[in-house]
């Protein structure tokens, strides 16, 4: 009988509305909007508020509920509903695993390799959106006075620029690269929770759409900075809600992915892969995931406080009603300082992989490299108030924060020196991934140095909230994080796409980026110390010369990135086929075909040694045992499995 009912219901709906797809997701989203309006109208009717149907009142409910409807429509929860309804589970259900056509990238897909590419491509779209906003800001700042945009739009531009690049580019692009690489590196067939992994990715476009949509709201986009300091954010126009709620989705995505990484790394390593045989990229993402899981709930809380203040008239940050303005900053920075390491540690991992493989040497001081990551995780939680030296908080707390901030330079220094020692007596292949890794070493050192300067309270008092801060953060996140991201994208491009990129264009991209990055951000140190505050659309005449120079450099930097786009797109479509292991690296992801087989390993590897034993005669990291069932054409033991479909 039940089958008969099921068939009947199914016949009532055309297949497009029945099957999980973007189309069904759209239907459900509209349903979610209707539901939110209904709920809001019901409550307003109950409290006798007029008008009963009020788009402004319904907006926060829509922003929270419609995305959940979207995910249901997309099919993110289909299997869980199936399981929760008590139906018989399918132990080996791979129906949504793998990509056989481009369409498979636009649905719920449980294959970590597909998700990794979804993450990476999606993140890079936002890199270019965020970069365009930066260039528009630089157009406004090219000369004193008003050029192109009014102050409200300008404040919106820098707020969305930072939010998009932090929450929709740097954090997720690292999660994307790690998603692709980590199961392969540790010899696992997939992540521990593939369906959660798919859900994690699809939360991101929601955050992206929300943040971008804020530009179309009355009063403009959110304009209180990515820091969204209360009480300015409490009283801002409706665009602020798009940040407050958008961050929740990006944060939920981060937390879910971090849990997934932790469980995968702890429980799914191949036989013989002890913690101290793990590649440092795995160590780096293990450390990052610890940071994410512990810290991210704090930014969620800070934004929920703001949302409650805004939507329901709570007074968390209204001083006249007993609210505490400084509390916002403490809760916010308790996440947002560790977030700086969330945006840096995975890059440390990438650089370790690239340097070892391209200098043909073992990583110098492997164990200290791993321990210094953990030291940064612990110390990272003890320095948050160095962002608040001039906030008016109790003055004694500044001293311990200065000390811990300075101490964190020690494990970071250990890493820099160990990378330098890794180069010594190597055979350095100076190709694009290596150039970006070396560029990172020098530029991140500068960012670290200005970081130590900022830890010194007396200097920080003068340069807080000036362009010196803008320079510092871009040396860390552009010269640091983005350089490692480029290194990683070039390094794993052959593995992800099965194609080689154009080396010559890669070098042009590196040198252009390196030169114009410095031309853009180095002068900001100077104008900052001279007294130009940040987050201003206008400035005094004395800074005009440098600002014009910075603006022109930033546009050149933007132009150079087109070389990267062309190289990636053209090489993916028609680059020469990549071999399984073009870099002759030892880690496991290079021991399978490019791109890897749909289930990663035809037979799981056994790890017998460290990951970077370059130059050690006869050293092997992993071996592939012969399959148990004898095959007629038995191949070599360590040979890569055949090409995936």
């Amino acid at each position: 009988m039940s089958t008969a009912t099921a068939t009947r219901t199914q016949r009532l709906l055309p297949p497009l509305m029945r099957q999980p797809s973007l189309f069904r997701a759209l239907e459900f989203t509209l349903l979610g909007v209707a539901f939110s309006f209904g709920l809001s109208a019901l409550v307003r009717w109950g409290y006798d508020l007029h008008p009963i149907v009020d788009a402004t009142a319904a907006a926060p409910i829509i922003m929270l509920a419609a995305p959940l409807f979207f995910l249901v429509g997309l099919g993110a929860f289909d299997y869980w509903f199936y399981w929760a309804a008590g139906k018989k589970t399918r132990a080996e259900d791979h129906s949504s695993h793998g990509a056989r056509s481009w369409k498979d990238y636009f649905r719920i897909n449980t294959d970590h390799k597909v998700i990794g590419i979804q993450y990476t491509v999606h993140s890079f779209l936002f890199l270019f959106v965020g970069g365009l906003m930066a260039m528009l800001m630089r157009a406004e700042l090219a000369a004193p006075g008003r050029q192109f945009v009014d102050p409200n739009t300008f404040n919106g531009l820098f707020s969305v620029h930072a939010s998009v690049l932090i929450f929709l580019f740097i954090i997720p692009v690292f999660a994307g690269l790690a998603n692709f690489v980590i199961p392969l590196m540790i010899g696992a067939p997939d992540m521990a929770f593939p369906r959660l992994n798919a859900l994690s990715f699809w939360l991101l476009p929601i955050a992206g759409v929300l943040m971008m949509a804020s530009f179309f709201m009355p009063g403009g986009s959110f304009a209180s900075g990515w820091t969204a300091y209360a009480p300015l954010s409490d009283s801002a126009p409706i665009g602020q809600d798009f940040f407050t709620i958008g961050v929740q989705f990006a944060g939920a995505s981060s937390i879910a992915t971090a849990l997934n990484f932790l469980v995968t790394i702890i429980t799914m390593r191949a036989p013989g892969m002890s913690f101290f045989r793990m590649p440092l990229l795995v160590w780096a993402n293990f450390s990052t995931s610890l940071l994410v899981v512990i810290a991210t709930p704090f930014i969620a809380a800070s934004q929920f406080f703001v949302l409650l203040d805004r939507s329901l008239g709570f007074n968390f940050f209204d001083a006249s009603q007993g609210g505490d303005v400084l509390m916002y900053q403490h809760v916010f920075w308790f996440y947002s300082h560790p977030a700086v390491y969330i945006m840096m540690l995975p890059g440390f991992g990438i650089v370790s992989e690239v340097l070892a493989a391209r200098a043909r040497k073992p990583i110098f001081g492997y164990r200290m490299m791993a321990f210094s990551l953990l030291a940064i995780v612990v110390l990272g939680f003890t320095v948050w108030a160095h962002h608040m030296f001039v906030s008016g908080m109790q003055s004694w707390i500044r001293l311990p924060m200065m000390v811990t901030t300075a101490i964190i330079a020690v494990p970071t220094g250990i890493k820099i020196f160990s990378w330098l020692a890794t180069l010594w007596k190597g055979v350095i292949h100076l190709d694009t991934p290596m150039l970006f890794a070396l560029g990172f070493l020098t530029m991140f050192t500068l960012g670290g140095i200005s970081g130590v300067m900022l830890a010194m309270i007396p200097l920080d008092i003068h340069v807080s909230d000036t362009y010196f801060i803008v320079a510092h953060i871009h040396y860390v996140l552009f010269g640091g994080s983005l350089f490692t991201i480029f290194a990683g994208v070039y390094y794993w491009f052959p593995k992800m796409t099965g194609r080689m990129f154009d080396e010559r264009l890669g070098r042009i991209h590196f040198w252009g980026t390196f030169i114009f990055f410095n031309a853009t951000f180095a002068p900001m140190h100077l104008i900052g110390v001279q007294g130009m505050p940040r987050r201003v659309s206008d400035y005094s005449e004395q800074f005009a010369g440098w600002n014009l120079f910075i603006s022109i450099s930033s546009w050149m930097l933007g132009l150079v990135s087109l070389v990267f786009v062309y190289n990636m797109v053209a090489s993916w479509r028609g680059g020469p086929r990549a071999s399984a292991n073009p870099w002759r690296a030892l880690t496991l992801e290079w021991q399978v075909s490019s791109p890897p087989p749909i289930f990663n390993f035809d037979h799981l590897p056994t790890v017998v040694g460290g990951p970077y034993e370059y130059g050690v005669p006869g050293a092997v990291h992993g071996v592939f045992k012969k399959p148990e069932v004898p095959v007629a054409t038995a191949g070599a033991t360590a040979g890569p499995p055949e090409e995936g479909a």
Partner: protein, 349 residues
Amino acid sequence: MRRGNRNIAGAIIVGTIASAIGIAAGLLIHWFPTAASTQAAPIDTLWDVLLIVSIPIFVTVSCVVLFSVKWFRMRPGQEQDDGAPIHGNTRLEVVWTALPSILIASLVVYAYLVLSDIEKAPADPAREMHVNVHAQQFAWQFEYKGTNGKTVKSDDLYLPVGRSVKFDIRSDDVLHDFWVPAFRMKIDAVPGIKTHYRVTPNKLGNFEVVCAELCGLGHAFMRADVHVVSGNDFSAWLAKAGEPPAAAGGSQTAAVDGKKLFTEGNGTATACGSCHTLADAGTTAKIGPDLDKAIATLAPAAIRKDIVDPNAAIYPGFSKGIMPADFAKTLSPKELDALVNYLDKVTSK
């Protein structure tokens, strides 16, 4: 072992020369704005010390990268070679953990000494002057205790040279930050609490107060003038500013200029023209409605209501909460009348 001519001594010489040039350039660059307080010198010296310490570190890292590339770059024929299998060196690792730790510890101690120096209370607290700083979107106001015990308010900051002054800083609306770059000191103005710092101006001249914490639309324009004057000039100014309003009002002339008020504000109230377009006043801002269109048909009473209660009626395409709602407080009744008359006159043609 594979290549002979690695001239390490030469590399060290190159690094030393580069560091020397870097430090010289770093010290020659004119980094800071004018120094006008006793707090500035220790901070500027701290910066020089940080430069002297930092530049050799950066040069060392860069030199190791560059010379490694020079010496160990893959030569033709080495395509299949690997480097030397060096896994680590405990002594080296101890050195590069210990040395930076010592360096960092010394810098922290030094920074602490500078901090105590710049925040030190004056030897004679009775001689210290107190100024209340009031921040609001998007203007500063300074309050002094006048000679006759009355409070004296000013939109410009007047300070006597050579005397320690303690600022008590407050905000009514959102966060601001009271920064005088020439004094090197800043602190947030935080709703609900009072924050403080002290400086001792030591140079006569005119400087600028800059708001350094994002506070909304007018943040970039939230500035005020600082006048550091001699002790006698200051006393004279304070006495004059503290005279009954008749004198102050008299000097401003009886008729308030509505157009001037529109384009420049009154020091407390933000200028209308920084957000609104008005052909007669020559302003072109687009944050708020274009007044040539928006109020052309309105009667004076309606214009007045829109100024003092801007959220009551919102012009299409704009939203609530952007225009300051406190013009009834920040404009005197006379100023409000003048502004309404002016607007009515120039928009109803």
